[in-house]
Amino acid sequence: MNDMSESDRLPTLPKRSVVSMAGEKLLEFIIRLSGISAIVFVLAIFFFIFREAAPIFFSENFNLVKFLFNAEWYPTSVTNVRYGTLALTVGSISVTLLAMSIAVPFGLGSAVYISEFCSPRLKEALKIIIELLAAIPSVVWGFIGLTVMSRTIISLTGAPVGVNLLNGGLILALMSVPIIVSIAEDALKAVPDSYREAALALGATNWQVVYRVLLPSAKNGLLAAVLLGIGRSVGETMAVLMATGHAVQIPHGLLDSVRTLTANIAAELGEASASSDHYHVLFLTGVLLFILTFAVNLTADFVIRGIRRK
């Protein structure tokens, strides 16, 4: 055999052109910009809400402690205006807690069922139905709360009014389940099949695979699912406005009516004349809401890190 002929030689690899390198730099810049923009948007939203709230926040006769820890909300009283948001905060938190205590077990449970136990055909059907559930507008949920749910609650418990904490919690649970299911199912799907096989080959049952392998390795995604559910519940406005009864009080039981921060803003902002104290206070409750959700996310973040370190 003689030396390699011309055609046998490997083609020489071209040098990368200046244009493609510059293009890559540009792309990198754009991507970085969009990443940073998320931070900018959050800060901007906070800034603009707070700007509307600032006049009351920095005024002489505003008392932050009273604002946070007084349960009396009489923004339009002629003689004695009081802006205490405790009842509203408690309303938001209690409705959310109730909703989550129902939605988290149901949501995670059905995600596990859909991704691990059910037949492929049933799986498709369930996923479509859950997507449908997620697409129902919140005002429709509110309507269901106001009518069907309210009547059911009255006939089952004998409560005088059917629009209350229980009603709002159930409606919110129904609304957050689809979100929790779809995110949690994605998280479980992302666990490599090789883990399942390795565990099953060791003689584990399907159920053991779920709680020994899948739940631990999908925990971040599952927590994200729960967080999005909480976010949905805290932020939901229309449905809770219609289903909770809208009474400003600290609830003593499931059958008491409550009002949430969100519903309060939605209901009153239209009536408050711009640049009145009432108007600014409503924005301040917006800031409070913002801080509340931020705190939830932050806690969850720390929890995840704690788990990871372990």
């Binding site: 096989e197 060791l202 003689g203 584990a204």
Partner: protein
């Protein structure tokens, strides 16, 4: 050696993925306390054969199996307790799959799954299995760190320890040494020779010399057919029954 009892009986085993048949009717026995070597070129169906034994082939939706496999005399397709069957057979896959758990939890996984909870028992199982897999010295101070953070060869040994953790009657090793250095491989081979007194070992290997060193009998599998199955001395001798065998083990095979 005496071949009194059969650990595994395979009768006319056929396996296809979809319409493609990859194992074309194998019939052979594996005896208790032997190391049974399986050699053969890529794609000959070695891994698929092992997956039939513990029925992990069931996870492959396109796979259809026919024929009979008996483990300890009972037909594995009729078994009532598939989990017990899988615990009876330890399986070491060629690519190590460390479960995303700590080293300790990886090895304790199977005993826990079968219901063992006493910490002292688990501790002793973990220690013994890691020692058998020649991994103990390297990890004993960090048993509670993630198993997936080990090096490739260490993970492979971790899967060996895991396969031993449920005290299998039969241990299947599928190219267990591809990521392990020669010295450690020798240490594990010594352990295998030791284990042979208690259990049956099926050794799939691309290193024909490994089969020669360890196996009592060796099967040469080629494209889903058994070309030759005989005692290892004969397979690796100058004149095995089939000339293909001679060519393969001597590397002449095209």
């Amino acid at each position: 050696m005496e071949h009194s009892e059969k650990a595994i009986e395979i009768i006319d085993l056929r396996l296809s993925y979809g319409v493609k048949e990859v194992i074309h009717g194998l019939t052979f026995d594996i005896y208790r306390h032997e190391i049974f070597g399986i050699i053969g070129p890529a794609q000959s169906g070695k891994t698929s054969l092992l997956r039939c034994l513990n029925r992990t082939i069931d996870f492959e939706s396109s796979a259809t199996v026919s024929g009979t496999i008996r483990v300890d005399g009972s037909d594995i397709r009729r078994t009532k307790d598939i989990y017990a069957l899988r615990r009876k057979i330890g399986m070491v896959a060629p690519l190590p799959v460390g479960l995303p758990l700590s080293i300790y939890d990886n090895v304790a996984f199977a005993p826990r799954s079968s219901g063992l909870t006493k910490k002292a028992d688990l501790d002793s199982i973990v220690e013994r299995c890691l020692k058998q897999a020649a991994l103990w010295e390297e990890v004993k101070d960090r048993l509670h760190t993630l198993g997936t953070a080990l090096s490739g060869g260490q993970q492979q040994r971790l899967t060996i320890a895991r396969a031993l953790s449920h005290q299998p009657r039969i241990l299947c090793l599928d190219e267990f040494s591809i990521a392990i250095d020669p010295v450690t491989t020798m240490r594990i081979e010594d352990v295998l020779k030791e284990l042979r007194k208690e259990i049956t070992i099926i050794l799939v290997t691309n290193l024909t010399q490994q089969a020669r060193r360890l196996a009592d009998r060796t099967m040469f599998l080629w494209n889903g057919d058994c070309v030759e199955l005989d005692s290892t001395e004969i397979i690796f001798s100058d004149r095995p029954a089939n000339s293909k065998t001679y060519e393969y083990v001597n590397g002449i095979f095209g």
